[in-house]
């Protein structure tokens, strides 16, 4: 049997959901791969929701919103765009193909475009094959990476950076200085990488206490960097020294409160 991808589509109520409705009214056929979740605005699509979908084995996630400038809520789709940009970078670190996440703009009058996009994305996913975390035996490593990524986007730092990007780049920061897009992207990339690794380390330490050296080997990063992340995780109250084996301290994850 040929592979039929499962694609989760987040459609904004005003444009893309209406576009999907119009595809129906106009009887434009497209593959049955897609399952739509209606949200009021593409800006509502929390990055954690996208990762939740991948973690649970979605072959693709399609986010659709109004064309830029047409957002029913004026600017929600710009925020969607920034979130997806960040997410794609983050997903690339997990070993999952970032092409599995796609953002497109579809207006209420673009029924044909909606159908075409679904066809196109479905074909793209068919070519890519099933998600490595879909099905009975998900790739444990990528799954763990995705969990780390999800934890990263649930945390303050990436969220605040994404939330403030427009303000920093377009309007200027609190000192009235504008940060250039390149400069901001650099900060963002660094933060994405760091937050991802920290959360990954946290998950690893949750399973079994480990030393800096072990972590460095398994994550393939410099021990000095590992230690730096450990320091920050300790400050956040996420890890603590569990015991010392010989001269090597082993670090363990702490239960973190809240949600």
């Amino acid at each position: 049997m040929t592979f039929e991808p499962t694609i989760i589509a987040f459609l904004c109520n005003w444009c893309s959901y209406a576009g999907a409705d119009l595809a129906g009214v106009s009887r434009f056929s497209y593959p049955t791969s897609i399952r739509a979740i209606r949200v009021m605005c593409s800006g509502r699509v929390d990055p954690a929701l996208v990762l939740e979908a991948f973690i649970n084995g979605a072959d693709g996630v399609f986010v659709m919103g109004c064309h830029l400038g047409d957002c029913h809520y004026l600017i929600g789709n710009f925020y969607a765009q920034r979130k997806i940009k960040m997410l794609k970078k983050l997903i690339a670190l997990t070993g999952l193909e970032p092409e599995r996440l796609r953002l497109e703009w579809v207006s209420a009058s673009e029924g044909a475009r909606f159908a075409e996009l679904v066809k196109d994305f479905t074909n793209q996913m068919k070519a890519l094959g099933p998600s490595p975390v879909a099905g009975e035996k998900p790739d444990p490593n990528i799954l763990e990476n995705l969990l780390a990524a999800k934890a990263a986007v649930e945390d303050f730092r990436l969220r605040v950076l994404v939330g403030r990007e427009g303000e920093m780049v377009d309007e200027g920061n609190v000192y009235g200085e504008k940060v250039s897009q390149e400069e901001f992207d650099e900060i963002m990339d660094e933060a994405i990488a760091a937050e991802y690794i920290r959360n990954k380390m946290y998950i690893m330490l949750k399973k079994v206490p480990q030393s800096v050296k072990e972590l460095s080997k398994r994550l393939n990063i410099d021990p000095r960097n590992v230690l730096r992340h450990i320091v920050i995780l300790r400050q956040r109250g996420m890890v603590a020294m569990a015991k010392v084996e010989g001269t090597t301290p082993l670090w363990a994850a702490l239960e973190v409160g809240g949600r």
Partner: protein, 574 residues
């Protein structure tokens, strides 16, 4: 109210929609499947769930099976949610404990050739809806007061008509016109078809009526600078001669009109003085016969060319401009009346003399000696200059099959009405859309032709699409009814789907305040974010961006969406 969460008891109603769904999706199978889903205590099929019978059976089932959640699997929530929510409310169930599974637009109609897969998808969609509805919570719609004051943007015939009718109903009206005088497009027009009265006289009467009405405040040379707020409570900033005027407005009417397309480069327009557009001709006609004589000496032959720059292959000007055929007939007859010996030709593709009167109007023109020459899109006429300054039009008469060469004194091009360039800016300020053609785009082409999707904002006249005076007046009166409804009722129910801040999680970082385009989030005295509910439109961007994840969206909570994701991906096993 600290009510204990009761166990969900979900009823599922699967609609055949005649054969729209039932013809492609195996509805009985979906119903049987629905019965196996967690929390589902009742499932049935209906031929039309939206019929009185269907509605009655929902209400009955709510009572009989003690349902506290309802799922209808039928069509799009964008049209039918209110109806089904109403049914729930009638049966005493909070209307927000309802979910639609769209198995028609998103399933049967797009997977007609794959009925088995369509059926499987329909089951998935029902499973998603059941998972979601089980987690939904009751919501209340806050009530808002409506300011009984209307703002009419545009002082042409449409805007003035709306203003007069609303004022006549007792509402206060602000009429904002960017030009120094009221009157709009009709100020350029000589006579009106088919009745023949002089536009200037009519406009004069209207302007007097508007200026003299105690309920109407006219602001000319004024532009809309900013629009804030929502239905019933708009705050509009008008810029009049450097001065900012702040208005509190209940409803807004867009009557900004359209302009004539200038066909630069087509048929010698812009190159030859004797090539004019219809509006340019009218402006000369307003000066009487002497103005024509002065400009062209005498008119022996005039050729009018229809569909210049309209009915093109592609948008934005793929449309027919609706009025040009009658405009050409009108002006052709005026010229014929003034110069009885002249030949007046109308070179056309299809005469759009629709309706009750225009066919007769066309007939009268033929009887008056106006000559109609048909051309096809593939072989348009050609206009060249003659050495003596006159023009030559070469046209292949498609119905007679002959080539005609017409020396003439004047070529008049019938060009379409096109939207104003800056309609875009207004559309952004008002948060209402424009269509492919650049005209304002209504809420629904068939049944909400003069409403916008955004409550409290309406459109009429040529801002909506090309139309003649009578049609513009009809629409203008129409919006005077649509806008009057909330203003007469005075109190409206507002959006229930708003965001909520969990105070215990908010760190006061202010990201949400920056993000909200409606200014609906403010900091309270403790520095904690607070949502002003009637201003919140419920987009949810604040929640999806909140660094502390302290904001949740009513009716679109994370766990509700996650339930849908899980329902899709974890199949039934979970």
């Amino acid at each position: 109210m600290a009510q204990q969460k009761e166990k969900p008891r979900v009823g599922v109603f699967v609609c055949h929609c005649g054969i729209n769904i039932g013809g492609f999706v195996n509805v009985p199978q979906v119903v049987r499947y629905a019965r196996t889903l967690p929390n589902v205590v009742h499932a049935e099929e209906n031929i039309y769930t939206c019929s009185a019978e269907g509605i009655a059976s929902i209400k009955e089932a709510i009572k009989e099976h003690d349902l506290n959640r309802v799922v209808v699997a039928s069509c799009t929530p964008r049209t039918h949610e209110p109806l089904f929510r109403g049914a729930c409310a009638d049966a005493g169930l909070n209307p927000y404990l309802f979910e639609l599974a769209n198995i028609r637009e998103h399933c049967s109609w797009v997977h007609m050739r794959e009925p088995d897969k369509a059926t499987e998808k329909a089951k998935d969609l029902v499973r998603m809806a059941v998972a979601r509805v089980s987690l939904l919570e009751p919501q209340e719609e806050p009530e808002i007061d409506v300011m009984p004051t209307a703002l009419v943007i545009g002082g042409g015939i449409s805007g003035m008509t709306s203003a007069l009718c609303l004022a006549g109903q007792g509402f206060k009206v602000y009429l904002v016109e960017r030009k120094p005088e009221l009157g709009g497009m009709l100020k350029k027009i000589y006579r009106l078809y088919p009745t023949g009265e002089e536009a200037s006289r009519v406009i004069g009467d209207y302007v007097n009526a508007v200026m003299g009405h105690k309920n109407i405040v006219v602001l000319t040379s004024a532009n809309i600078k900013d629009v804030k707020g929502y239905i019933g409570n708009f705050e509009v900033t008008v810029l009049k001669e450097g001065e900012e005027i702040k208005l509190k407005i209940g409803t807004i009417i867009v009557a900004t009109g359209a302009i004539e397309f200038k066909p630069v480069g087509l048929y010698g327009y812009g190159r030859y003085d004797r090539v004019l557009t219809q509006v340019e001709l009218e402006e000369i006609l307003k000066g009487g016969k002497s103005a024509i004589d002065k400009r062209f000496f005498k008119l022996q032959r005039v050729v009018m060319i229809q569909c210049v720059g309209s009915r093109e292959e592609r948008p934005p000007r793929a449309y027919c401009s609706r009025i040009c055929c009658m405009v050409a007939i009108k002006n052709a007859m005026i010229i014929k009346e003034w110069y009885p010996d002249s030949d007046v030709y109308v070179v056309y593709q299809d005469m759009q003399t629709y309706g009750k009167e225009y066919e007769e109007y066309h007939r009268r023109a033929r009887e008056a000696g106006i000559r109609f020459v048909s051309y096809t899109k593939g072989s348009p006429p050609e206009v060249t200059a003659l050495p003596n300054g006159r023009l030559k039009v070469v046209v292949y008469h498609a119905l007679l099959g002959i080539r005609r060469e017409l020396d003439c004194d004047l070529v008049v091009l019938s060009t379409p009405l096109i939207p104003y360039e800056d309609a875009k800016e207004l559309s952004k300020m008002l948060k209402v859309p424009l269509g492919q053609d650049g005209f304002f785009f209504e809420a629904h082409v068939k049944l909400r032709p003069i409403d916008f999707a955004t409550d409290g904002i309406y459109v009429c006249g040529t801002a909506h699409s090309p139309k003649d005076v009578g049609e513009s007046v009809s629409q203008a009166l129409g919006v005077a009814s649509r806008a009057a409804i909330p203003m007469a009722v005075k109190r409206l129910r507002a959006e229930a789907i708003t965001s909520v801040v969990d105070e215990s999680l908010c760190s006061g970082c202010g990201t949400c305040i920056r993000i909200c385009p409606y200014g609906a989030i403010q900091k309270d005295e403790r520095g904690i974010a607070k949502v002003i509910e009637v201003m919140c439109k419920g987009c949810g961007t604040c929640g999806a961006s909140c660094p502390e994840r302290a904001i949740s969206m009513r009716h679109f909570k994370d766990e509700q969406i996650i339930a849908q994701i899980h329902a899709i991906l974890r199949r039934v096993a979970a």
